[in-house]
Amino acid sequence: MREAFRQSMAWFHTWVGLVVGWLLFFTFLTGTLGYVTYEIDRWMKPEKPLVSAPLSSKDLLPLAIARLSAQGDQAKSWSIRFPGSRVRDELQVVWRAVAKEGETFGKFTLETLDPVTGAPVENAAVRKTGGGRLLYRMHYRLHYMPTLTAIVIVGICSMFMLMAIISGIIIHKKIFKDFFTFRPRKGQRSWLDGHNVLSVTALPFHLMITYSGLVFIMFTLMPLGPRIIYGEENRDLFFEEVFEREGRELMPAAQTAPIMPMFVEAEKYWGEGNISRINIDNPGRANAKVTFYPHQGTTIVRSGLEFNGVTGVVSEKDEKKISLQTYEVLTDLHEGVFAGPWLRLLYIVSGLGGTAMIATGLLLWSTKRKAKLAKSGITHFGIAVVDRLNLGTIVGLPIAIAAYFWANRLIATDFDGRQDWEAHAMFITWAALFIYPAWRPLERAWAEMMCLAAAAYLLLPVVNFLTTDRHLGVTLVHGDWVLAGFDLSALFVGGCFAMVGLKAYKKLAAKVFSDGKKPLTKKGDGPVVSPSL
């Protein structure tokens, strides 16, 4: 009974993993890049100034207030966002109008202000780009399709991911005994060891990221419960209650207390220069509320210091409902909003670990089957197709992402629709890389595409040098570690691909030598070259 259960789980794990693996590889890789969205964003906007000492938020506050006050008193909320953290290098103000009939939210306006004059600035000089943000959004919104469809597709795949993780734990007989076991250069054995190690060591991360990802979109994936209890027409009420939002009725007008004294008090609380954002809800009304958020907090959930907007006194915060707290902890864990640079690095390591786990799992599927078939000498069309899809995904996607960066530098800045073409460049490249291996012997295609990936990343800083003045020679000297870090990371990634690619070529050459002829002229036979192992 027990063995039968385990066997059925093994079947489930194998086939579910295969079916959703390619999409999940995309989700994991682009999602991992999401941990450095803002850094990528800055690299993709080379017209922005180099890093400089942040301006004092205290000096910027009056400019922001003046600009917001000029918008009249019809706002539902204001927000002032200060520069000086990784997410922002400019002063921004946001105001949301009162929601009109039939709207869930009122109109949202965001402006960047000049730090000296306080006038809104048009960033005409900065090239139009999807930036890191588009790349990050792809991990749940995909591309070329309506958001809702994409979320449902990614959501269903994530559910299967969660099931694959759990079934994987069940079929792994010796989690502790094999915890430290990795045996290189043993073909299929090594792939299985690698897959296990990547899965088990980062298991907390895999479970957390998959589960919290589902929590993010649970209202889309499971819409029926609230609809039955609240009815079709009261959906807004449901969300107001869940997220403890205020209703839409307006309170009578009342003078809002000056913000500056509150700012001084908040800075004492969060530390000097640590105010990142001020939210002012219901400005000019009796229920006005002013909340100060720090750049770097001390808890997982973003928490702010709240003031009563009319009296200007710190107000006791109501404890949030436990359900909302749980939701916020999970979603904030997913995004790593609280992460400093070191934790961010660890998030990336774990994310890449997850990506590699999916890749090794996909490769295992075909290595296993080919090992079986090799004995009988049959080749199988299905396996050949999976092999090519694996190659197109595992090596093709990183190259496609490099193409996205190349396009950012190579498409003329005044080209109409350049923003869209950056993404087109990425997907055209990717499509080409799916087609390419169909005409090549598999092992050769692995080696070639690895080298192509190496070239794509190693040359990225060179392209950057030729097209902008934000290259390593400038950024390193200036000490702009975000921009320099991007180029250095590209070199590192390219270096890794180069090592694996050269190894694969050596292996090919050794094989040609021992066989006395070119190996693998038929599609789909022979084991996959084992890169990196």
């Binding site: 005994k177 430290f180 076991t181 290189p184 990547l198 907390p204 808890t299 660890l346």
Partner: protein, 94 residues
Amino acid sequence: MILLSFIFTFIGSTALCLAMARHHRQIWNRAADKQTAWQLRFVGCSLLIVSVAVCMWALGGPIGLVVWLGLFTGCTLLLIFLLPYAAERISRKI
């Protein structure tokens, strides 16, 4: 502080790893005797506990715990993928 915790986690997981017969054999060509194995286990567990404590003390409970889980993942990945290659070098020398 994170660096300190990283070092503790790395040494701790290495000790736990070497307490296992298979990995002890990789380096010394024989399994650890019972006493050594228990000593290694004790050292490993205590270092891991200390590293969690350091993290949580330095960064606050919840964030410290998240950071430590990340550190543990990073350390064990590093250890596991280096171990077979390091073992070859070391056992050649011994």
